[in-house]
């Protein structure tokens, strides 16, 4: 019987120890705050084929973050970091807008496909450059991707000649702003991407290999794990996903803003990954956790606007949420809780004579 009790306690412990759990808690808390501010917050409307409401907005805002967070999660698993995702986003956006505007074909499907393919190709190539610097040249990921972060934004500016290029193309616009089954296309696409990556990683042995590299690259090399190829793959995938996110971010307004698109989004992605319980030191990773982290960040951003928190106070608000989450996730705080519980349990036990 005590065995049963302890098993239940153990299960509860496992959930509480699961760091993403606290991300979910934070999302719920934020939504609750919004709900208090406006009782209609969670209501979802439906008109001409599209659901609408704050929740839908959050999902749509989360889509690009989810995409880059998933890529980041894989990179972080190998013990790396990708600071360049924001810059790769702007490059992909710049390529898309520049090409579309030079074609000036508002509703050509072929041009849309061609443009996106090219943008994603370039994004993947930039990711691959990161991969080569890390895996073949052997540079530290922080520096390699920092270089790419600096250079990427420059490249985007070169592509557009420093301008914020605007273009028209219905197909591309639909991707970013359209709806299928009442849900935003972007969000559905990000779900598809998450599911694909999840299957790829967990149904194959890729996840194990990435974790092995992240935990101990020397030992895994001797065990025959192909570190180079895998790192190259992972950084390329991160580049590709950043490219997709970049195309969407720009397509939603059909403008690329060379100095703002994707600016500092790498930080959001890294936060999402960490909130999801993946350690930046590499190793065990959780894509589901990263998704929760991404949703949390989108919720946070939207909450700040919804509550009308003054722009000047937003960073501090963000900081407080992050610190609170970090504390909840920390072993020390949990052990404090455990001790309290244990003390309570003990006093109960002592009350009942053996």
């Amino acid at each position: 019987m005590t065995d049963m009790a302890s098993r239940i306690a153990g299960k509860r412990g496992a959930i509480v120890r699961n760091q993403a759990f606290w991300g979910v808690v934070a999302i719920v808390v934020l939504l609750a705050i919004n709900l208090i501010a406006d009782p209609g917050y969670l209501s979802i409307g439906y008109s001409d084929g599209r659901l609408s409401g704050n929740l839908i907005d959050i999902l749509r805002a989360a889509a690009p973050i989810l995409m880059i967070a998933v890529g980041m999660c894989l990179v972080v698993a190998t013990g790396g970091i990708d600071l360049s995702v924001g810059s790769i986003m702007v490059v992909a956006g710049a390529v898309t807008m520049e090409l579309l505007s030079s074609m000036n074909t508002p509703d050509s499907l072929g041009n849309a496909a061609l443009t996106i393919a090219l943008a994603l190709g370039i994004a993947t190539a930039l990711g691959a450059v990161n991969g080569i610097l890390v895996s073949v040249v052997g540079l530290q990921p922080f520096i390699s991707t920092l270089v790419m972060m600096l250079a990427g934004r420059g490249i985007a500016k070169v592509i557009t000649g420093g301008q914020n290029t605007t273009a028209d193309n219905e197909q591309v616009e639909w991707l970013a702003n359209g709806y299928i089954l009442g849900l935003p296309v972007v969000f559905l696409l990000s779900v598809v991407i998450v599911v694909l990556v999840l299957m790829l990683v967990r149904r194959s042995a890729l996840g194990l290999m990435l974790e092995a590299i992240g935990m101990d690259s020397r030992a895994s090399r001797l065990a025959g794990v192909k570190r180079r190829n895998l790192q190259l793959t992972v950084y390329s995938v991160s580049g590709l996903l950043a490219g997709i996110a970049g195309v969407f971010a720009t397509a939603s307004v059909m403008t690329v803003d060379v100095s703002r698109t994707g600016y500092q989004l790498e930080l959001d992605a890294i936060l999402a990954v960490v909130i999801g319980g993946t350690s930046l030191a590499g190793g065990k990773f959780s894509i589901g956790g990263a998704v929760i982290g991404g949703l949390l960040i989108a919720t946070l951003d939207k909450t700040v606007v919804f509550l009308g928190i003054p722009a000047s106070a937003t960073p501090a608000f963000k900081a407080i949420v992050i610190v609170a989450l970090c504390l909840l996730q920390s072993e020390r705080v949990r052990s404090l809780f455990r001790q309290r519980r244990a003390l309570r349990a003990q006093s109960q036990k002592e009350a009942v004579p053996a």
Binding site: S144, L146, G154, A281, S312, I322, C326
Partner: protein
């Protein structure tokens, strides 16, 4: 100057086996090689600049290189401590914003300038302590902890004020930027030095002594080598790690004083991205981001390389704006690849 960082030793007794010792001696030097390379490249850049654009090797350009980058040098020293332990501090730029806005507002509110300056520095220490506690006691990863501190400091700064806060014209804090002319040349061609520059030089000197001649400093290196080993060797790891984040924050506070006094005003948007400049300076100076190897003097050279690069780009005047970040990135890349080659070389020598 950077080569002497390894202390001299008495000759080891006994016959040294000849095979390893030559290459090993080379090995010991090689760890300083990226730093030396940075120095050489710095000198090379000066020579190139003088030849291509002129007016580089003259009093004002060189002293302005120091004056303009004094705060960056201080930040680079701060980051050197942190990076040597294998950590990172993203909050320094935001700390500068908060500390300077708060300091200027206090000074304008009638606080004694010394008190205001002290508070500016202590704000840095306090925020550093916050990062340190998060990292050391709550197991938050340095990247995330200092990111949180960065948001916090930036947020506090903008909650204080979003408009430029200007120091009163007669504020004593401004005197910290007094240009002391050592050689009064033609027009502006003077050799000048400011209290800020002096502060940065003193800080570098102290940092050098702390890192190379105190147990605290050696513990910093040991933690960078292996934190677990350092703990099991009985070194005061917790205190040291807390210490370096406090040092880093404090130095950011000092940098805030130096920068603010020169500008005469403070603003919540100051210092965005400076942490990356400081990190770049440290890396260019030959310190590995994984921790354990590097020299504080290298970071100074790194900061000067970055500063000089900006001067040269300005002097050229024809470089398209979109190219500047690409160039910065490229230079950084060249340096790290160089370091990489040296490291590979060293490994080869050792076996």
């Amino acid at each position: 100057m950077t080569v002497t960082t390894r202390p001299p030793t008495g000759s080891a007794p006994g016959p040294a086996p000849s095979r390893p010792s030559i290459s090993d001696r080379l090995g010991a030097r090689l760890s300083a090689l990226p730093t030396v390379a940075a120095l050489l490249i710095f000198v090379g850049m000066i020579i190139y600049g003088e030849a291509a654009y002129g007016r580089i090797v003259q009093f004002n350009t060189l002293s302005n290189l120091l004056v303009n980058n004094a705060h960056l040098i201080i930040l680079a020293v701060a980051l050197t401590f942190v990076i040597l332990t294998g950590g990172i501090d993203l909050s320094v730029g935001a700390i500068i914003a908060f500390s300077s806005v708060a300091g200027v507002m206090l000074a304008n509110a009638g606080w004694h300038p010394v008190a205001a300056v002290l508070v500016m520095v202590l704000i840095g220490s306090a925020l550093g302590l916050v990062s340190g506690v998060l990292i050391q006691y709550f197991g938050v990863q340095p990247f995330i902890a200092t990111l949180a501190t960065m948001f916090l400091a930036r947020g506090l700064a903008s909650m204080l004020s979003t408009v430029p806060e200007r120091l009163a014209d007669d504020s004593a804090i401004r005197e910290l930027a007094t240009q002391i002319k050592i050689v009064d040349g033609d027009k502006v061609n003077d050799l000048v030095i400011t209290p800020g520059v002096i502060a940065s030089i003193v800080i570098v000197a102290i940092a050098f002594i702390v890192l190379h001649r105190t147990r605290f400093g050696r513990t910093v290196y040991a933690i960078g080598g292996s934190e677990q080993s350092a703990t099991l060797m009985g070194l005061p790891v917790t205190v040291t790690k807390l210490g370096i984040y406090v040092i880093s924050g404090t130095l950011a506070g000092v940098a805030a004083v130096v920068y603010t006094s020169r500008l005469g005003s403070a603003q919540n948007i100051t210092g965005i991205g400076w942490e990356l400049d400081a990190i770049a300076a440290v890396v260019i100076g030959g310190t590995l981001l994984t921790g354990g190897t590097g020299f504080v003097l290298g970071s100074v050279v790194g900061a000067l390389v970055l500063g000089l690069m900006n001067v040269l780009i300005t002097r050229d005047g024809g470089i398209r704006p979109e190219m500047t970040t690409i160039i910065t990135g490229g230079i950084l890349l060249v340096f790290v690849i160089l370091q990489r080659l040296v490291a590979a070389r060293r490994r080869q020598e050792q076996t």
